[in-house]
Symmetry: C2
Amino acid sequence: MKNEIKPFVIGLDLGGTNSVFGIVDSRGEIKATTAIKTQSYTTAQDYVDASVEALQVIIEQVGGIDKIKAMGIGAPNGNYYNGTIEFAPNLSWGCDGVVPLAKMFEQRLGIPVALTNDANAAAIGEMTYGVARGMKNFIVITLGTGVGSGIVVNGQLVYGSDGFAGELGHTVVRHRGNRHCGCGREDCLECYCSATGVARTAKELLTTTTEPSLLREMNVDDITSLDVSIAAGKGDALAKRIYEFTGEILGEACAHFTAFSAPEAYIFFGGLTKAGDLLMEPLKRAYDKHVLKIYKGKAQFLVSGLDGASAAVLGASAIGWEI
Amino acid sequence: MKNEIKPFVIGLDLGGTNSVFGIVDSRGEIKATTAIKTQSYTTAQDYVDASVEALQVIIEQVGGIDKIKAMGIGAPNGNYYNGTIEFAPNLSWGCDGVVPLAKMFEQRLGIPVALTNDANAAAIGEMTYGVARGMKNFIVITLGTGVGSGIVVNGQLVYGSDGFAGELGHTVVRHRGNRHCGCGREDCLECYCSATGVARTAKELLTTTTEPSLLREMNVDDITSLDVSIAAGKGDALAKRIYEFTGEILGEACAHFTAFSAPEAYIFFGGLTKAGDLLMEPLKRAYDKHVLKIYKGKAQFLVSGLDGASAAVLGASAIGWEI
């Protein structure tokens, strides 16, 4: 059967809590969707069985498997070259070994399956359906619980020699020596510019100063990045400074990334982007201050053009078109 | 005339002092060579005229222009996309504007001409004739008066959206706030890991400590990286520490670069590599210490495989094969 009469791809956004499946057309319209709980299974085989069972329903809804070209998976610690999930710390059935997930789905569904990490999926999603359409050199930075990145150079995703390139959340911009990162190192970008990083900055500022703030009404350990946004939106000076600090570190980091691949745009994706100009204004100011002269004024700073709720599924599905 | 009967390319290593031309075959053998002084000309036109005059002689030696496929130029501030040299601070005839050098040579020689900066030329040279043959993902770092870089991803040089990607010498690893860089910023890698950076470290250590050292016999402002190597070779502890410090910063920087493109190798090129293990051992130790766990033990650390004296010409010539 020819490719042109296979109008759909399957996307799987494999998260620590939910696994969301979507069947997507070439314009990025989601035709059918379903989900299972990621962690309700003890083995990868059980997980794939449950996934395929859920998928059968929506595959029938769009006319059967013959209508589907391929499947793309965005998953933590996903290795594109091998189609594997490798030692993913947050997956009960994937934390202590190498799971050949792409192959397992391929065998069950009879279509090609490719897999990469969620940030790379986001980058391909932006290039296929989002604000990076037509761009050949850009960097997507995902600002969620952690900080991820997907780098596109010459229109191709950068996977590197081992399939794990693009971990910009684990570069260090400010060596303060006081924030331990989940990766075992100190002061990674992720310790500052993720949702949890913003909460850590809030705690740091609240416990080392006596400055009045709406945030003092809360238990310091319960404060989230959303609480900080809300307080900042009410004009709280300390809350605004937390986002300024976050944006400054991220902007300075981007200035260094530009020395690598001189992208035409940075595209930010994920929960923290909801802070809007609170984050983006200090980010752009810090970038302009720190970037090398020859690059000044060239890069755009954009927020993901994909619909928030389905962005990750769209990103994953986009990998399906690349196969 | 078909390509296969054009066995040679011209390489031009355009430096601040000398412009060296070579005619090179596909195995990297230099068949003929000539040179002119770069700065003896007041206009780019005069420079090109003198170059072509010198080139005519060696072109005839290899059988005429019909034997030559193309010309590649490695030049400071070279822009591959436009074939231009842009505001090159060290060139009398190229410092205050945009010189369309590739086009000027093309019109005079009647063959295709491509141009890029010297570090990118080195990377293409390593891929074509040197230790990176067969590699798809690697980074060349040039350690000379400055620090340059040429990055290869998926077998292609990374030029970025503007032709100026790959300025890793102008990323910052240690914010000490005390070394001003020629680029106008503080503490760039180049301030520490170039030949001049090593001399600056020598001066810093000699003026802030009273530790005995062979280097104290010299005027502190006259000490070069070569003097430091020689002293270290004689067992001088302070001189060794200067290279340790240099290697540590470079190794830590490479650990961050790996988070970007996960190269299979770093290839070091230029004068400072003559320090050998004095530099490479602390470099590798610092890399292992700072690199993210998933990348540990994967990258090779190599020294350029191109003959020192002709390496830059070979690199430039290699661009000719890419056209």
